[in-house]
Amino acid sequence: MSSEHIDDVSGVPTTGHEWDGIKELNNPLPRWWVITFYITIVWAIGYTIAYPAWPMLSSATKGVLGYSSRNDVKNELAAAEVAKGQYIAAIQAKTVSEIAADDALREFAVAAGGATFKVNCVQCHGSGAQGSAGFPNLNDDDWLWGGKTEQLEQTITHGIRFASDPETRQSEMPAFGDIITADQINQVSAYVASLSGPVQDKSLIEPGAKVFAENCVACHGDKAKGNREFGAPDLTDAIWLYGAGEAAIAAQVRAPKHGVMPAWIGRLGETKVKELAVYVHSLGGGE
């Protein structure tokens, strides 16, 4: 145990500790090393006083500096809001077509509108705005109510067939199952299908055209190109909201389905609606 223990090989004093013949040499650490170690301990204690640390019964000590990560987030969000401020102000002041024409504003609106879309619109229109049966695809170039930014803004603001909004887009196709016969329905369906593709029984087309002229041209037009005033779809194109083919057309003629889209102005406000309109317009089908 005394300091005269000297290791034979290295000539270094040992601490006297020995385990199975292995001796612990005493090569003293530099003193500053241990001082540094003590400083880190003091620092650690100081840190737990300055910052939230010690667990208490219901929460933890708050720390004398009053730091909290929640406040940090709050401040960062506030800073982000301030940074967005100039864009928001410009979007408020400008019309949607002006926003779409300005590169920087459009970029901002597309990003912001995309985020709003992910929260509010994907439930019906799908995460890629690709739609599904009864819910229109917003990527394509076929628009029931118009694909210009202003028209999109109008649709989003007031909705479609949304009863509690007086300015909502309104249209209703009669249930022709009660008006024309089943044969006539088959004929007119064959005619409509023939406008965009081949049909099985070509003999139905001619009588179908007659049925169409008597019942459908008022809304869909004599060339069946539709009418955006009434949200009447173009029946000559390749896009079918409720499915392509004679059977799907016949079902829609007999007892039409009418989708409803809510008016979003109340929930989202003008700025977000504008951003959404610019976003939808940017998806590729915008006019």
């Binding site: 004093p13 601490t15 003293p28 003193r31 090393w33 459009r106 394509d140 170039d141 173009d234 390749a238």
Partner: protein, 519 residues
């Protein structure tokens, strides 16, 4: 009743008795390195001037890159994520050049260490260079070794106070200049220096100066050799790089021992005497405070100042230089074998000398040939291979790049005329500081045409766009193919971009997806 002398005395001692306690922590022993002079010292002055010159002056060099890029020769522009090094500009995705340089630094260290030992430690390590600089100040203010020892041991007089305060003040100025120089690598130096002095520089600039001032002052002025011995991992790693053919600073005890201060007396009584006169000059100049005559040791940074010191003494005594010298372990072993008659007795310096007093022909000398051995060739080969690969890559790298992301949701859109449209995010990387007119063209995909969001042009097979200097341009591009031309549900085609003025171009192979029903 027993008499007190009759009480048996037991052999026992408290485990923590004061006399058995040993200190587990040792105070730093002060080192007062003496000024050395000689060829290695001169070489070190030169290295110091070059390395410090590079460090302090580099940010002030200008390099014209035109109107659209900074004109600082070396600039790490973190805010804009660009790195400028003279004619080279590196984007973040080209960071592998830095990785390559680090590999070269690592292999280079192996190469240098395996040939000339810890040359990095002794000559070019910032710790060594700044300690050297701080010692220059110390010597200028307080005098050389003896004066400093005397001052340190003496009482606190007004003179001592003045000397100490001036020394530390100069150290702090150097430290602040060191920390200050660092920040100029990260922003335009002439602008930043104005901002630093009028208080408008970023907080991080001041914090960096403060931290680097503190570390430079502490490591260079106060801790010195402690950093090398206890904090730095290099000595351990570099020691593993050495082999028996690496040059290291060596005390040639085969000619030095037995050392004696009283050569004539010793010779008179017939004792053998080596060349070492035990003057301790080698110890006095050592910045690490060690005695090279104890052999190779971890603390030795191989600064070679002991060689200068000893050569000076040998010159004065009219003996051959090189009692302490750069030598390889294999030469040393060969010579010690001669001096000890193959280990059969203690060193006898007469064995290494001829009858005329000159060195025996049996002694081994370092030959340049020893540098060229398999190990060093492998290091050199690896080092050159990495360097060459970097150089070739640098000279042939593209400054116009194209990346294309295919929209996945939806993968395709059926349009009213039955044609199919796919969306792509097209990224044009204009990596030169000049604006460029770029033509984007479709290759393949018969009948297809494209439009881009924000570019008011009719659908076409190609369109023009302007790429801003040194920027990434992101375009949303829609490609549309008529239904009757669709050949498969997945067709390959190419986007091609071309600089209208130059020859540079880039291509990206993308896929066009269509639904089964479209065919």
């Amino acid at each position: 009743m027993l008499d007190q002398t009759q009480v048996e005395r037991l052999e026992a001692e408290a485990v923590n008795s004061a006399k058995s306690r040993q200190p587990l922590y040792a105070a730093r022993k002060k080192i007062f390195p003496k000024r050395a002079s000689g060829s290695f010292r001169r070489f070190k002055w030169l290295v110091m001037a070059i390395t410090l010159g590079i460090y302090y002056l580099m940010p002030w060099l200008r390099w014209d890159r035109g109107a659209f890029a900074p004109d600082q020769a070396v600039l790490l522009d973190l805010a804009n994520r660009r790195f400028y090094f003279f004619f080279i500009e590196i984007w973040p995705q080209e960071f592998y050049y830095v990785a390559g340089l680090l590999m070269m630094a690592g292999i280079g260290l192996f190469l240098i260490t395996s040939t000339v030992g810890r040359a990095w430690c002794g000559y070019t390590c910032p710790q060594t260079v700044w300690v050297d600089l701080f010692l220059v100040v110390e010597r200028a203010v307080e005098g050389d070794r003896n004066a400093r020892i005397k001052l340190d041991a003496g009482p606190w007089t007004a003179r001592k106070l003045v000397l100490r305060v001036s020394k530390h003040a100069i150290w702090l100025v150097i430290a602040a200049a060191t920390g200050g120089a660092w920040i100029f690598y990260f922003a335009d130096a002439p602008t930043l220096i104005g901002n630093v002095f009028n208080g408008t520089a970023a907080t991080v600039a001041y914090a960096t100066i403060a931290v680097l001032t503190a570390t430079t002052y502490t490591f260079g002025g106060l801790m010195r050799e402690q950093v090398c011995t206890y904090m730095c991992p290099w000595p351990r790693i570099q020691a593993a790089m050495l082999d028996e053919n690496s040059l290291t600073v060596t005390y040639n005890d085969w000619r030095g021992e037995p050392r004696s201060r009283h050569t004539k007396k010793a010779l008179a009584v017939g004792q053998p005497v080596g060349d070492c006169v035990d003057c301790n000059a080698c110890v006095a100049v050592c910045p690490m405070g060690i005695d090279i005559r104890d052999g190779q040791q971890l603390e030795c940074i191989t600064c070679a100042l002991c060689i200068d010191a000893c050569d000076g003494v040998m010159d004065k005594l009219g003996r051959e230089r090189g009692l302490i010298s750069y030598a390889t372990l294999s030469d040393y072993n060969a010579n010690i074998a001669v001096a000890t008659a193959d280990g059969s007795r203690a060193v006898d310096p007469t064995l290494v000398r001829n009858a005329d007093g000159g060195f025996s022909d049996r002694l081994a000398h370092f030959h340049l040939r020893k540098i060229f051995r398999l190990r060093t060739f492998i290091y050199l080969g690896a080092w050159s291979a990495v360097g060459l690969a970097l150089l070739v890559s640098l000279l042939t790298r593209e400054r116009l790049e194209l990346n294309v992301l295919h929209d996945r949701n939806p993968q395709f859109v059926t349009l009213s005329d039955g044609s199919i449209r796919n969306g792509y995010t097209v990224k044009l990387l204009n990596m030169i500081p000049e604006p460029r007119a770029i033509v984007v063209t479709l290759q393949g995909l018969p009948g297809a045409e494209m439009t881009a969001v924000g570019i008011e042009l009719p659908p076409a097979r190609s369109f023009d766009t302007l790429a801003e200097p040194d920027r990434l341009k992101v375009l949303k591009v829609f490609v549309r193919q008529p239904a009757d031309q669709i050949e498969a549900i997945a067709q390959s085609f190419k986007f091609r971009i071309e600089d209208k003025a130059g020859l540079e171009s880039a291509e990206y192979t993308a896929t066009f997806n269509a639904p089964e029903t479209a065919r």
